[in-house]
Each structure stands twice: as structure tokens, then as C-alpha cells.
Amino acid sequence: MGHESTELVPVVVTHATWLWLIPLLPLVGATINAVFGWKLQALFGEPKSMKGGRGKQLVHSIAVGFMMASFAVAAYSFVQLKGLPAEERFLQQTLWNMFTAGRLSVDLAFSLDQLSMMMVLVITGIGTLIHVFSIGYMAEEPAYWRFFSYLNFFVFAMLLLVMGDNFAVMFFGWEGVGLASYLLIAFWYTDPAKAAAGMKAFVVNRFGDFGFIIGLMLLFWGLGGAWQARDGLVRNLDYVPSVEMNSNAGASTAAASEALAPRVHGVKVGPTMNFRELRDQVVIEATGVKEHLAGTTVWGISLLTLIGMLLFVGAMGKSAQIPLFVWLPDAMAGPTPVSALIHAATMVTAGVYMVARLNFLFVMSPSAMGWVALIGALTAIFAATIGFFQYDIKKVLAYSTVSQLGFMFIGVGTGAYWAGVYHLLTHAFFKATLFLGSGSVILGCHHEQDMRKMGGLKKHMPITRWTYLIATVAIAGFPIANGFYSKDEILWKAFTSHHLALFGTPTPWLGPVIFVIGLLAATGTSFYMYRSYYMTFTGEYRGGDGHHGDAHASPDDHGAHAAPAAAAAHSAHAAPAGHGHDAHGGHAAPAATAHGGHGHDDHGHGATAAATAAPADDHGGGHHGGTPHESPWQITLVLAILAAGSVLTLFLGIPVLWQHTFAHASTPPVLEHWLEPVLLSKVAFGHGTPAMEWLFQGLGVLAATVGFVAARAVYKDNKNEAALVAMIERWKGTWTVVYNKYYVDELYEVIVLRPAARVAGSFSWFDGKIIDGLVHAVAAVTKGFANLDGAIDKYLVDGAVNGVANVIGWAGGTLRHLQTGRIQTYLYGALGGALVVVLVNFLIS
């Protein structure tokens, strides 16, 4: 299945001395703000003002400045990389050796190839924009410095993840983004629901990481296996394994290890953490490593399949695939810029990046590929349907993200690596636009996230509306924006792939099935996105008039919304199970301090008023009147740039078919061409006729149109509420299940949490009864022995000692009468003695 036509050669490395600056700069920014940020705010801020004044300006200048510097270095690197010949685009920098153990040598090293370059540009570019957005969005936040410090730290960790030259550095980044994600989701940690959402994200990710680590270990083990002296398997290796083992074990430095490393045809082979060394020995068939890996089985399962599936478990956690997607919707508890940066544009794509980076491994196991693609497809349709009936705008986008990540995995799973990565790129743009747009809406509606209380915002927020619409067009898949190009490439490749397998069984039908699922999911995507657009921006504004959208009669209708007492609303809000984390009190923490004597209860905001007490100073009358307003320039500028990006990036993926038809050229899409040296694995896709390809692109557009028309018919201007209610009544059962996200959280509760709690309970019982019982029994026995010993001591030993003393005392008492003190008594004694001596003398003689 390899790329037989051209001879693959080892990666040509160009050393670069500036690469370390890219991740370092955000780390410096994070450190400065973490250490001095509060001081800056305290020194230069105006204490009475929630805006914070110059102190906050300094804080965000530092954060954004270092981000821009990092982006500049990344751009410079891009220019350098582009200047190299296409096959030799690989910049590398080794900072220092972290550890050397035998033949394993792990460096702190960074590398940039075409794939990580694209990721770095997305991370630093979109990251910088989201930092700018945060200036406007977080303006009222007291812990401003903490937010920017975390955000910079996240970027640092993400850059480590994508730039790491080996698995160790990548894994530091992998865990680092998990930490940053946890910190930012639980940013408003005073709200228990938000803190819990942070923990949920962290714990669920740990499950995935566990699989990831096991996969890594297996890979490491598998590569080491080639070094066993097994005849036949290593027949083309021209060294003696045992000698190599011994000579290498003595290496104590990286250089010594490197010098002693076994090489076959000049390619370093053996267990390694380094991506480059891994790629070289696997893709160059002369080393025999590929053959060895393909021939190894563990308990009857192909080693490569096992590695692929386990590595994908790691991706499942990070990239929110079934069944580990549950943390991502809850992660919306974090501030909206965080949702945009971490939970849409960058971190969640780490799994896709990892699969694409290791494409040469996955491509060797059709079963692993089938597994990845199938899970991706199921996630895509599953999350899309949940998105249909959510009312929280961020929840819709969260499920949309899960669904789009599913599309990316269809791409990388079926072997259309570049398409998956392209979708990653397009998604980063349009989903960042959507999330930031929703952030702008939330800010404009005074921290309201329920779409039933929005509506008609196109009058009040024109820029937000247009950018949101462009991104909606992009994600829905109309050819005028980027989403169409990546999604249709993925679906087309899925349809034409016949090489997939499941658990060792070839399943040529899987590709078309995935295509159908994907098409349905695309229809759903279009529907729920237009639904969110129409509910939010068209019709009449429903936020300020006390109308609480009860027309939809949801089962757990965010009950606390109607709570008249604003003060009580916040705590009541967190109560409904499963909904607490999407509490609308975005600024709950500052609200508590700023609410004071404002008396918002009479503004008709209900729960919202309490949550938005903080921004009151900022937005003045507009807020008190309950009218939505357009966001500050930092926000609208970023939205405009990202929306432009959502359109312009389409030029990176113009299909060959179009070029062929319109320009009589047959160059591959720009991005595919750019990524080709990295995503070198080629799988044999079926060849469709141009007519068929046109048909499938038409199907894609049709799917988008169907979703669009349906959403328009039902939700446009919110005129059809009665029909909607009737429809919901008719399909009440199904609707309830979908609305409640298929009860997945509840399922987790039953399948994972309760058994875990029960196991914990039984362990607690075991500990309480058995272990403690044993301990207590031992204690009782010991106590008995101690008592016995005490008795022996008291009665036997002490008795003997006291007895001796008593006897002596009695004897003394008795004998003392002999000592009268009178001289004559002693004289009698002397006489008696003399008499005795005389008598004895007499008797003896």
C-alpha cells in the first residue's frame, strides 16, 4: 500500500536556531502576567472601576504582544520553509538532551514541517485574534491578568504539542493543553458547576490519555521487537543484534548514543520517540521495520491495529469523539474566547493532527483506519442531531464542533489525510468566527445564552450578524465559503475508499456507508446552524420583555429562567441536572460583588439581570433598557478578519475537477500539494468519473440546501412557533430523547459513575469492615498480650522483687533488736564469740 512509485528517502533536516522562540514567547507572556499581572492591575488600574483602566491595558498588551511576536517568528519560519525545496522542507532545532537511557535518547527539540507549520500558523494567528477579541469580551473581568496568563500558557502548550520533534515533547504539550483547558473552563471557579465542568474535561481526557500512552508503549515495544535475533524477520539487517545491544547500553550521552545507534542502509532503526526517526525506518522498506511491524501480533490481534486503535483512544479524548465527547459541551462553561480558541479551533484538533502526523502508521492497518473513520462518522451524525434542539447558543456550537471533528476523523480515517487536515483548517476559521460571533451576541444580550431570548439582533448587531452568516454558510457547505471544499473532499474520498476493514475483516461497503452518514450529518449541520442563525438574528427581540419562550415546552425548561428574584436566580440556575454548567450567569463571580444596590429585579431580565450586573457600568443606559448593542471594535474587527479567512481559505482547496474543467489545469489543491511530503501515505481510492464527482458535489450542496430550507421554513423570523409546538407535540418522545442529548450524561451516570461509586462504596465497606476489622482484631490480640505481659510484670517480676525487699525488711526489723546500743550487750556478744571459738577449738583438737 506504500508509495511504491517513488523511492522514499530519509527526512532532510535543515537546522534552525529560532524555532524555540515560537513556543517560548507565549510562555514568557504567561509568566509575566502570572507573576506581575495582578500587581500591574493593582498599581495602574482604577480600583473603583470595573474596567481596570491602564493596568488592564498593560496586561493585555503583554499577552497580545507576545502572541504577535510568536506569530511573526512563525511567519518568518514559513518564509524560510517555503524557500526550501519541496521535499526538504523540515526545520529542526535541538535545544538540549532531556535524557539518555541505553539507546533511547530524548531531546527537547522542535521541528517544523509542512503540517506543523500550518498548525503553528493557525494557532498563533487565530490565537492572536482571539487574544484581541478577549480584550473586549473580558473587559469587566477582575481577574483579567489570570485569564490572559492562562490563555498564553495554553498557546505555549499547544505549540509544544504540534512542534515537538518527538513523542515526549508532544506529550508535554498534550498534557499541557489539558491543564490549560481545565484552568480556563473552570476560570470562574466560584461557580461549582463550572469547576465541575473543568474537572470533567480533565478526567475524561485522562481516560483518553491512558489509551494514548498504552499505544505509545506498544509502538515502542514493537519497534524494539525487530532487534530480537529472530531469523527471517531481520534477515536484511547487517548487524548482530546482541552486539549492538551491548555497545549501545554503554552510551551515556546523546552523541554517543547517536554514534552507536544501529543503522540499516544509513537509516537509524530501533525503538525511538522521535517522529522523524520513526517515519524514516517505517517508510523506507529496506529497513524491514515495516515488514516486522506488519507481521507482529499481540494475542492474535495485529500489533499495528492495536497501536492505531489505542492511539485513536487518545485522540478520542482530546478531540471529543464517541464515547469520550461528553466533556466538550460542558466545557462551554468557560469564557467564550476559550471555547473558540481551545474547544473549537486548536486543542480539540490535536487528535486529528496526531493521526495525520502518524499517517504512515495508520495506513498500514486498514482495521485501525476503519475504526477511526467509523467512529468519526458516528460522532458526526450523533452530535449533529443533538445540535438540532439545543437552545443554548454555545451548546449548539459545541455539538457542532464535536460533529465537525467527526468529519475530520472521517477524512484522516479513510486515508484522505490532506482533506481531514484541510477541514481542520477551515473549521478553525469558521468555528472561531461562529464562537466569537456567539460571544459577541452573548455580550450584546447581556450574558444571555438562550436563543429563545434573542431574536432580531440583525438590527442591533450588523457586523456580528454578517460574520455569523458567512461562517454559517461556510459550515453548512455552500461553495461560496471554505467549508464546502473540505467537507465534500472528505465525503467524496469516503465514498471512493474500498480498503477499510473492521477488526481484520475487509469491509469495502464501509466507505459508502460512511458517505451516507456523513451526508446526513452535513444536512443536519446545515439545519442546526441556520436554525441558530434565524433564532438569534431574525424576528423580534425577545430578551427584554419577560417572554421566556415557554412555547417550546421543554421538559426541564431552564426552569430558573422565570425566577423573578434575580438574587436567587443564580443558585437556582445551577440546580437542574445536566444543565447547571450552561448557566447563563457568565459573569457570576463579578456579579456577586458588583450587584450591590443596583436593584435589577425590575428590569424584566429575570435571571439575566443578576448575571449582568457587572457590565452595567460599561454599557450604561443600553443595558438598563435591555436593548442589545453591537460589541466594541476589538470584537467586530476580529470577527471581520476571521470571516474573511473563512472565505479566502477556500482557495487552498479548489478541487482538481474544477481546475480541469474551468482552467484546463490539473494541479492538485494548494494545501494538498503543500502537505504532500508529510502526508506521504497513499491509499488506493476508487476512481470516479468527473460526472460522478460533479454529482457528489451537487449532493453536498443539496444537503446544505435541504438543511437551510428546513431551518428557514421553521425558524425564520420566529413566525411559526405554533407549528413548531405542534410538531414537537407530535414527536414528543423522540424530541425529548434528542433534546436531552440521548441521555448520554445519564448513561454515563448509570454505566460509569454509579458502578464506580458502587465499587468505591464496596471498597469503602471492605476497608471499613474487613481491613479495619483485621486491624482492630490485631489490636485486640496485642492488647491481650500486653495485659498478660503487664500482669506477669506486676505480679511475678515485681512480686519477686518486692518479696525479696519484704523479706530483707522483715529480717532487718527482726535483727535490729539485737542492736541495743548498750555496751554490755556487745560485750556479751564478744564473750559468746570467744566462747564459741574456744569450744570449737576444744572440740576439733
Partner: protein, 102 residues
């Protein structure tokens, strides 16, 4: 009847025994001292008798004279002790001089 050594020794032994009984039974400290004199004189008789019958010469008699001198000295010391005894106990009855008991 021939006077032999035995007769002298019997007289010496009788004197010693009288002295001993006096020393052990008298309650008066002065009486006790007098008993001591009897014992010493019993010894003197023996010195003289042994000198005359066994050794010859006058060495025994000289020893007896020394003992008489020592007895005088002893009596002087003894009487001084009796005076101290009286000053302490307001009596010279040796039964009350039992401080050694404690």
C-alpha cells in the same frame, strides 16, 4: 602443800572472771572501770607466775609494772569518759547510754 603454777593461774583466772562478771553486770560506769582493773590484774598475776615458774628472770614482773601503768592511764581516760557521760545523760548508768542503737 607445794604452791605450784596452777594455783597462781587459778587465782589469775578467778580474778579475770570476777572482773568479767563485774564489767558485764555492773550498771554503774565506775563499777565497769573497776571490773576492767580486775581483769588487768588477773593478767598481771599470770605474767608474774609464768615469769617465775617458766621463763625465769624478772621480765614478767616488768610487764606487770607496765600493765599497772597502762591501767592507771586507762582509768584516767575512762573516768574522763564517765564525766562526759554524766554531762550528756545526767546519769552514769550504762543502760541509758544507748545512742549507738540508732
Amino acid at each position: 602443800m607445794q604452791i605450784s603454777l596452777s594455783h597462781f593461774l587459778i587465782v589469775g583466772a578467778l580474778l579475770f572472771c570476777f572482773g568479767l562478771v563485774t564489767v558485764t553486770t555492773r550498771r554503774n560506769a565506775v563499777g565497769v572501770l573497776m571490773g576492767v582493773e580486775l581483769i588487768l590484774n588477773g593478767a598481771n598475776v599470770n605474767f608474774a607466775a609464768f615469769s617465775h615458774y617458766v621463763v625465769g628472770g624478772v621480765s614478767g614482773q616488768v610487764f606487770a609494772l607496765f600493765v599497772i601503768v597502762l591501767a592507771a592511764a586507762e582509768a584516767a581516760v575512762g573516768l574522763a569518759i564517765v564525766l562526759a557521760l554524766f554531762q550528756t545523760f545526767k546519769t552514769i548508768d550504762v543502760r541509758y547510754a544507748d545512742l549507738m542503737r540508732e
